[in-house]
Symmetry: C2
Subunit: 223 residues, 2 copies
Amino acid sequence: MARRRLEARARLVRAARDLMARKGVGATSIQEITEAADVGFGSFYNHFDSKETIAEAVMAEAIESFGTAADRLAEVLEDPAEILAASVRHAVARAAADEAWGWFLVRTALTRMGGLRGGLGARLARDIRIGLERGRFEANDPLAVMLTAGGAILAIIAARLQGDIGEDAPERAATVVLSLAGLRAKEAAKIARRPLPAISAPQDAGTGENDPAGGRRRVRSAP
Amino acid sequence: MARRRLEARARLVRAARDLMARKGVGATSIQEITEAADVGFGSFYNHFDSKETIAEAVMAEAIESFGTAADRLAEVLEDPAEILAASVRHAVARAAADEAWGWFLVRTALTRMGGLRGGLGARLARDIRIGLERGRFEANDPLAVMLTAGGAILAIIAARLQGDIGEDAPERAATVVLSLAGLRAKEAAKIARRPLPAISAPQDAGTGENDPAGGRRRVRSAP
């Protein structure tokens, strides 16, 4: 029973994701979503309050999927500083390429998704912790550094989305985060500009830059 | 005509501020606001869409009023590092004392209020710029440092409101911001713990910690 419920919810999110990626949130109706998901129209409301709620679930999945893909950086990179820099660069670049994703991250990362406890925040904290444990990073106040790194990424993403910082935002964000983690300015800047390994997202939630319908998603969903 | 309109709007915001501080947003009705403001009920909608919209205007004024009060720190302090530290500490402490204010800041500072262009973000950028111009601060990438400082303050406020960082959050936030501005760790920590000059807010928007009805405002308005 609980499993069936979860399956129906997953089908709804998948259908919403495909429709919203193709047509945009505004042009997608709840009826289209339930039809594509093969779920009764009324059952939609057992899972979601509104189209906005399911759009948020789609976004949350897109962010989680990005995080899972970014996790694989640890397999191709060894240096904790390179791993951290690559994660930061990928997150800022993705946000710039997909405004809806970026604004959703900015709006939710400090509140609903629980700061360093959930989602990308927890991953960031982990990447910093690993570097500290291995003696690669240094911080008098690790918690403050983790929070600052998270806040920095969000503020730089918001500035990028508003056109206040240029295309090199990913590298500048990585430089400042590595400096926070105790690297000297010169080394931080160097590592932040190394060739960036790709991250693969086989189960990408369809709102990413690899999505052929990408252009449609460039809808400013905030402020 | 335009002036009258502004006056009516100001009366509405003032009445909403007083009522909401005393009774909370939920228990305040639009009718009470218009009666207290001596404005016709229907005219309310010439100025605001809903109770939520006027509550946001109240919060925006409270933040602006805080910023104006914090501006006076430059009159009692000389060192740009002390001015920056005191501003950061006051903002974090105020957010912890007034959750609605804190969450409003977290939710809006990166989006609606325009990052470093408006409100407290613009003040933070100015305080950092002054320190850079006087040679007290040092930064390879001033814009990234300003954004990071802003993001750090918001992330630490959110963590404080969620109980993830302790009562020394204001001093830890100030330490990390001063380090970002190029101060050595030891000096940053020392300045961040100096006795803090009070800031006075004669026209405080009534949701601050000086408000006798303070307890009522401790309503979590986000996430």
